[in-house]
Amino acid sequence: MSTMTINLKVWRQKNQNAQGSFQDYTLSDVSEHMSFLEMLDVLNEQLIKEDKDPVEFDYDCREGICGSCNMVINGRAHGPKRLTAACQLHMRNYSDGDTIVIEPPRAAAFPVIKDLVVDRSAFDRIIEAGGYVSVKTGAAPEANLIPVEQHTSNVAFDYATCIGCGACVAACPNSSASLFTGAKLAHLNSLPQGQPERKLRTLAMVEQMEKEGFGDCSNYAECEAVCPVGISIAAIAEMRKDYVKASFS
């Protein structure tokens, strides 16, 4: 098994109001089979033994589905591999002696909590504003009474697969949440179940997105490039169309 020495520049910030800075660390004996987050675990074990504060970063499932991890690696959200969340990235993508810069996603709407951990509750508030179909428990009709064309269902799924990690915001020069918001709108607005609330939902979610301090979209498409689950930027076009329609009716 081959091992490498890796140099790290990691953003350290005590809390939201503290001034942050990059700190340098060197790790020897990094195995190519380690995941990127396991490499950071090893760094933290080393720091704890040296009586230093470990680096805080968000993670949970480590399978690329929960959307907790969202660090920016060498300037790119989730690192160099396309369609891959940071937790699914492996050290074999790096070489002996490499320097890796790790920082939190930077956006006014995502304040830093500590080090690489940010507050993404703005996303919850966008969903809260209208990202649902209003159906009370027990009020649902028999499932097969709502046929959905297979293609439509597949398209809805492609948008619904968003993991809410916020990489799209981190990558956008405007810190826009348009891909996130557009994906949820496109999921629900494309299905028959989502039609009755379509206009209200679109207006409410778009307005909440603006209120949270996210910027507008100017079609850089950086979001699509970093999205770990491949959400298409077409979601934003759908959102704009629906927003215009809803605004004039």
């Binding site: 490499m39 675990d41 499932c61 919850d124 969903i127 428990t137 046929p147 999921h187 989502g194």
Partner: protein, 639 residues
């Protein structure tokens, strides 16, 4: 301790409906005067919170993640069962009930399992109405796939992300009620204790994980939906932050813990690659439809797998189980993988893996066909291992996946502490000694959408619930206990990290309380766990302070609880002098090496009462007898 399952009388098919008729209601005016706390926001928690809030109760939800949407239910891949019989293949509520009770090796309650099967159809209706994009046929109607342990096609799915889509549906329903002002959602909050006043659950103590403050919340009822405890093994397919703390702290306040030794181990996971390994990744067991499992016959054979000729390969499942071959159930496949690696026949750098070979399937059906069936799984495997399964066999090994045991609950999903309800994987309720595939999502949502909202209401209507205040003594005392424990962990300042301790604990559990257990092994595990626990409290090193975001402090408190639970699991496994479902005792096997149940003596639920920890865990066994009125108990055979 009194354990009354409160099973309604009457025919199986009528129990739940009769119970619903008898349940007391709370009027709309009064509902808004009551508050319910829901801890955990996975399928069970999010669906319970949304449904209770829709009814008019004031709900507070708590989760450790930064958003309710990230609970570990999100990672479930395969699907969710329901007895819709859309395939016209003879499915029915009865058949789903029967498969589930048989799959659980006759160690669950008939009444609960039947209700689960009844609710299954409502879940699909609810999810579709919410806009969950299930797989569909060309005609636009819902599609189904087959899953292990059943002879009908009853599994609904959203590609390989069914858990994600169902959870987002429940999360969105919950966020709608946040918007309506009926749910107050607390994220990055961890429950550290249950507050019991006059014998009833009346609130919880939490730690705000961002600010580090200890907070007190009062309520009329507490619904615990905090998932399973598979991470006691350190390595599992569970999310890294999944833990037993909330459930264990309730246990320490008097809630019985049932069947802790029932742990499901999934046979097809990507093996461990080194000491730094932090978790294990599951791959769908559908791979065994086309892959052949083997190891070299000679343990010194270190050749590349492709160079090992056919006659020197040991296709052990095919040889030992000629009729089911590679498609034996999960527990049998896992056990045999351990047996061959214990014999030294394991492959890969660690020797803890077996081959899953697609060579013959590719030769038979062509690479394109195999790619169409398993392409995404092969890609995932390649991403993690850097090996190409189209060109050489995969390496797989079993991993801890799900825990059937949990807090004891009655038919109303209430623990033996009045006012403490437990739903989803956190309770012991429906899966007996083994859970069938695609049943976890079903149970979480059945509990949350269709049971808890009624039974919590019944409790509130029936009970005297005098006002309590967070300024009461019981709250202050519990808050102080929580703070003291954190301070104690920080004060040790030893020389071993929490992760090092957890990894060692996991190894004991995997070796001796894992796939197969023996009297001798369990007795030595208990000694080892006790010794390591002592060492933990003498030598653990927890960095930083309690007054800010400190993930390693969170881990330390959770591992402290895992250390106590671990001993209880070993005690329970030792007490159960039989094999059943996932619990295999080496001493109790048929001549063919199958699990040998002892229905005469062990047809009961083991419910343990916590008495204290003083060097060793003091615990007392209570038994709830399982009476089978409607099904006949049979020995499983897959030969």
């Amino acid at each position: 301790m009194k354990l009354d399952p409160k099973t309604p009388s009457g025919p199986l098919e009528e129990k739940w409906n009769r119970h619903l008729k008898d349940i007391k209601l709370v009027s709309p005016n009064n509902k808004r005067k009551h508050k319910v706390i829901v801890v955990g926001t996975g399928l069970a928690g999010a669906s319970a919170a949304a449904s209770l809030a829709e009814l008019g109760y004031n709900v507070q939800t708590f989760c450790i993640q930064d958003s309710a949407r990230r609970a570990h239910s999100i990672a479930a891949q395969g699907g969710i069962n329901a007895a819709k019989n859309y395939q016209n293949d003879g499915d029915s509520v009865w058949r789903l009930f029967y498969d589930t009770i048989k799959g659980g090796d006759y160690r669950s309650r008939e009444s609960n399992v039947y209700r689960l099967a009844e609710n299954s159809n409502h879940i699909i209706d609810q999810a579709v109405a919410q806009g969950v994009p299930f797989g569909r046929e060309y005609g636009g109607l819902l599609d189904n796939r087959s899953f292990g342990g059943a002879q009908v096609s009853r599994t609904f799915y959203s590609r390989g992300q069914t858990g994600q889509q169902l959870l987002l549906g429940a999360y969105q329903a919950m966020m709608k009620m946040v918007h309506a002002g009926k749910i107050e959602s607390f994220t990055r909050h961890e429950m550290l204790d249950l507050v019991v006043v006059n014998g009833k659950a009346r609130g919880i103590i939490t730690r705000d994980l961002v600010s580090g403050t200890i907070n007190k919340y009062e309520a009329d009822a507490v619904v615990l939906c905090t998932g399973g405890y598979g991470n006691v093994f350190y390595l599992s397919t569970n999310a890294k932050n999944s833990n037993v703390t909330a459930a264990w702290r309730c246990h320490k306040r008097g809630a019985a813990f049932a069947n802790p030794c029932y742990v499901q181990i999934h046979p097809t996971c990507i093996p461990v690659s080194g000491d730094y390994q932090s978790k294990l990744t599951l791959m769908s067991e559908s791979l065994r439809n086309d892959g052949r499992v083997w190891v070299p016959r000679d343990k010194d054979d270190k050749r590349h797998p492709n160079e090992i000729p056919e006659e020197e390969r040991y296709y052990y499942l095919e040889e030992r189980y000629p009729s089911f071959g590679n498609l034996v159930p999960r527990d049998v496949a896992s056990r045999n993988a351990k047996m061959v690696t214990d014999e030294g026949l394991g492959v890969g750098e660690t020797g803890l893996a077996v081959y899953l070979d697609f060579r013959d399937a590719i030769n038979r059906d062509g690479e394109d066909t195999i790619r169409a069936r398993y392409g995404n799984l092969f890609d995932m495997y390649t991403n993690i291992t850097d090996e190409n399964p189209y060109k050489q066999p995969m390496r797989i090994f079993p991993a801890v996946h799900y825990t059937m045991g949990g807090l004891w609950v009655d038919y109303n999903l209430m623990s033996n502490i009045p006012g403490l309800f437990v739903a989803g994987e956190a309770n012991f309720s429906d899966h007996g000694a083994n859970r069938l595939g695609a049943s976890a999502l079903m149970q979480g949502l059945s509990d949350g959408y269709f049971i808890i909202p009624y039974t919590v209401g019944n409790y509130i209507a029936e009970e005297e619930l005098p006002k309590v205040s967070v300024d009461d003594e019981a709250f202050a005392a519990a808050a102080k206990d929580s703070q003291d424990q954190l301070d104690r962990l920080l004060s040790v300042k030893g020389n071993k990290t929490v992760i090092e301790f957890h990894r060692e604990l996991g190894k004991i559990m995997w070796d001796k309380v894992g796939i197969s257990r023996s009297k001798e092994g369990l007795e030595s595990a208990i000694e080892e766990i006790r010794a390591l626990r002592e060492d933990f409290w003498q030598n653990v090193r927890v960095p930083g302070e309690a007054s800010y975001y400190n993930k390693y402090l969170e881990f330390a408190a959770r591992v402290a609880d895992f250390f106590e639970l671990a001993e209880l699991m070993a005690i329970d496994a030792l007490d159960r002098d039989e094999s059943c479902g996932c619990h295999l005792r080496d001493e109790y096997q048929t001549e063919e090496g199958e699990a040998l149940r002892n229905d005469e003596e062990y047809s009961y639920v083991s419910a343990w009462e916590f008495l204290g920890v003083n060097g060793k865990l003091e615990t007392k066994l209570h038994k709830e007898d399982l009476n089978f009125e409607f099904v006949e108990l049979k020995q499983r055979s897959y030969k």
